[in-house]
Every structure is written in structure tokens, then in C-alpha cells.
Symmetry: none
Subunit: 245 residues, 2 copies
DNA sequence: GAGTGGTCTAGACCACGCG
DNA sequence: GCGTGGTCTAGACCACTCT
């Protein structure tokens, strides 16, 4: 165990919160009490508390004890990307049905977003995402060929594409998300089971690697009565957590 | 000057970076050097460096000096909240037309979100937001009475409510945003200038102070052809930036 | 006034990066 | 091996909250 003390303390406190030992709204022990309990000085104790504050788990202020605000810590980047992860955080059972996967020349706006030449190929997927077995979101994803090729041989009904890509060492670094609303088209209507023209939440996403090179473009449409997109941000930390449902 | 030392140090370093004294890619002085220069101990110096790291200004690691990464600090929280700020970042001219402000008992779901008793009063606003003079978003905001009272006397067509509240010392700490899509109702239709039933992007937001006490509830509806909500997140830093348009 | 977190000091040892 | 940041201790004073 060469784990730093402040990490150990943070982990122990996190466990008490997640385990319900310290319910939402409860006060944590004071810094002095934690020092005595763990036989540590104030430095590490304060560092551990700062970590939990960053994660949005606790709040508080001068003269007041820290208070439990939330039971689930934020995991900013991955949770922003992965429908699977976001669903699991929220307690829903995620599922998926691949409708189509193809290697083709993408439409001009998509090609432009991915900075592809007009004749370059990309891997496109149409996939229906489920929450507790009900159609919740329809995603139209486009990957640059070098990244997307292996997906042609993968079992895409099995789980998260992001987990698969990260496992293979793909350098996912930044993402830009744009939200708006759009009326359901015929494909949306058929697969999501809503009338044509009904309002859907659309998230368009461009994911890039750490050099800024585009990797993935996606157009995701959510059925608003089944799934919403939620995110939390706090002033001090810059952590943001995203979830569905 | 009752400003804490670590804040002062952070401000001085931030100034050197913004002023080009420390260009992007340059190394900062070592912690020991900063201690000598400012005649401080390591604690405050490290706290100041941690602040800049949080803002995405500097990076670095064990054994290496801190390196300047960027010259402009991210201000994630405010930019997440303020339509005005988000518009300015994107280069649009924000505007607003207050339609109504009232002190009343909010509808039960809103009262529940704000943890109010059924007979407690709250301040409710209906305000149309403009981008370059065109109707872009309609917000229905509800503030707990203690926070919202001063708004009854403020000039709400002048600028950002958040700037006003923060100036008055209101402790805005965390916000939870939920996005979905909804069909325009009669009020939306009239003020936003879209047909009844057309799809709108809806953002519902609950803002709390650092003890977790709810302060504000808002239901914001965006006209998708005029305004969208965009956010960027990166893997390494937890900074996220939001914008409209 | 007692208890709490916010801040600061002075000194120490360790792990990592680099020459 | 030396300088760096990462971690930890022990003690101190102040500002704030609560009662």
C-alpha cells in the first residue's frame, strides 16, 4: 500500500456516502474529528475533503460542517460520451439494436465536419438504444475509416463502442456537443415508435483526438418521454456529470 | 487588503500569463523560487498553482516544472448559467424583454423542486431572450423569495440576472441541467413566433447554494433554428465551456 | 463563547524526471 | 545525484456560524 493518505481518506469517506452510512443531507465529522479518527494531520484530511467537493459529493462553508450533497461522484469525460455508462449511473438497463453498419462516402456536411475529402470512405452506423427494453434514442454515427474499420468485425450489440475503442488505444480527447430540437422524420418515427413530426431532442457530437483531428461525428435523437440528458456542474470544481433518463 | 495570500499569488501569476510575460509553453518558476520571491511558505504557493491548474492555465507533473498551457482561463460555471455570457462568447448580441414578474405561490412541481411548503411565495419571471434582436429563447424562472425579492426592484431588461445576484453576494454553487424536447404551447408560439406544436429545445435547471439549498428553478425553451446549446469537454482538464447560437 | 473551517508557517521525507 | 513536485506533520491565528 503506497497509496497516499489523502486518497485513502477520500475513498473511505466516499464509501460511507455511497453505502448510505452518510445519507444525503447529513453532516460529515469535523476536520478535527477526522484527524483524530484516522490519526492524521489536517493537511491530508483537508485534501481528501477538497477531492469530494470537486466531485460534487459534499458542500459546506466556513463555520459549518461539510454536508453530503449527492451520493454519486462525477466522472466527467467518459460519462459525457457513453450512453451505456450514463444509463448505468442512473440505474437503467441499457440495450442496443444495431440497424445498419456500412462503409461508404458520408453526406457532404458530415464529411466536412470530419475534415474528409469528398471521395474518402467512413464507417457509418445506425443504432437504436434502449432503456429497460424501450426505444429511447436513435444514433447515427460516422467514424473516420482508420478508427471505424475494426467496428465492422465487432459485436456491436454487446456493449459500449467507447469502451471498445478506448481498449484498442484510440485517443479520444475532446468532444463538442450541440443540443437542439427536431421533428421526427420517417426513420425516427419507425424505430423510436413516435408519430412523424413529434419533437425529439437532438445531440450532435464531434469527437476529436488530442491533436484536434476529428474521429467521430454523431447525430443522436432522444425520445423525450423516455430519455433526457442531464448534467451537473458546480462552481468550484469544473466537474460535470452527465446522465440519461 | 484582507485578500488571502494564495488568491493574490494566483492573480499575480494569472496576470503574468495573460500579459504574455509567460507565453504558452513556457515554464513557471519552481515552487521553491515562488516561495522565495513572495516570501511565503509552500502551502499558499501550492494552493495558487492548484487554482491555475483547475482553470486549465497550467499543467505539469512530478519532477517537472509547471508549464503554461493556455492564456485564457475557463469560467465554466458562469458560462453554463448566463445566456448573456454565452451569447457574448459566441459573438451574438444578447437582448431581453421582460414579459412578467410576480410574487406568487408556484405550481406544485416547481414548489417541490425548490423544497417549498405549499403556501410559500416565490418570485416568478417570464422573459424573452433575443439574439441579434430575434426571439431565441423563452425562460420561465422561479426564485425562492429571499433571493428573488430584490429582483422586483431591479431593471431586468438591462442585463444578466446572474451577474446581479452574484454582485449581491448570493451563493450560487451548483446547477443541474436537464435537456429534452417539447412541442410549443400557445405562449411559446406567440412570443417565440413559431407554430403551436413545433419542436423546441427545453432546458430545465435547478440551481443550489453550497449547502445544497435550492435557489432557482427555470424552464428555458429555445427556438432551434435560432439558438442551440453547445458545450465542449476534454478528457484531461475537467473544464467545460458552454455557448448558445 | 465554543466550535468550525480558512489560512499560513516551518520543517521533513519521498518519488519522479532529467542530465 | 540533484532539483522538482507530492505528501505529511505540528502548531498557530483568524473569520464565520450557531446558540
Amino acid at each position: 500500500m503506497t497509496e497516499p493518505l489523502h486518497r485513502t481518506l477520500a475513498a473511505k469517506l466516499r464509501e460511507r456516502i455511497r453505502g448510505g452510512d452518510l445519507p444525503i443531507g447529513a453532516s460529515l465529522p469535523s476536520e478535527a474529528e477526522l484527524c483524530r479518527e484516522f490519526d492524521a494531520s489536517r493537511g491530508p484530511v483537508r485534501q481528501a475533503l477538497a477531492t469530494l467537493r470537486e466531485e460534487g459529493l459534499i458542500g459546506g462553508g466556513q463555520g459549518k460542517r461539510p454536508v453530503v450533497l449527492d451520493a454519486v461522484p462525477a466522472q466527467p469525460f467518459e460519462s459525457f460520451l457513453s450512453f451505456t455508462l450514463r444509463a448505468e449511473i442512473t440505474g437503467y438497463a441499457p440495450g442496443q439494436r444495431l440497424q445498419e453498419i456500412a462503409l461508404r462516402r458520408p453526406e457532404p456536411p458530415v464529411a466536412a465536419a470530419l475534415q474528409l475529402e469528398p471521395d474518402q470512405l467512413a464507417v457509418q452506423l445506425l443504432r437504436l438504444r434502449l432503456l429497460d427494453g424501450k426505444p429511447a434514442m436513435l444514433e447515427r454515427m460516422t467514424y473516420v475509416e482508420s478508427v471505424g474499420r475494426p467496428l465492422l468485425d465487432a459485436d456491436l450489440d454487446a456493449g459500449s463502442i467507447y469502451a471498445y475503442l478506448i481498449d484498442r488505444g484510440v485517443d479520444l480527447h475532446a468532444a463538442r456537443h450541440t443540443f437542439d430540437a427536431i421533428a421526427a422524420d420517417a426513420t425516427d418515427s419507425r424505430l423510436l415508435g413516435v408519430p412523424v413530426g413529434s419533437p425529439l431532442l437532438r445531440e450532435r457530437r464531434l469527437t476529436t483526438d488530442s491533436t484536434g483531428t476529428p474521429i467521430e461525428w454523431s447525430d443522436d435523437r432522444y425520445r423525450p418521454d423516455i430519455a433526457t440528458v442531464t448534467m451537473t456542474n458546480t462552481r468550484s470544481s469544473k466537474a460535470a456529470r452527465a446522465a440519461v433518463a
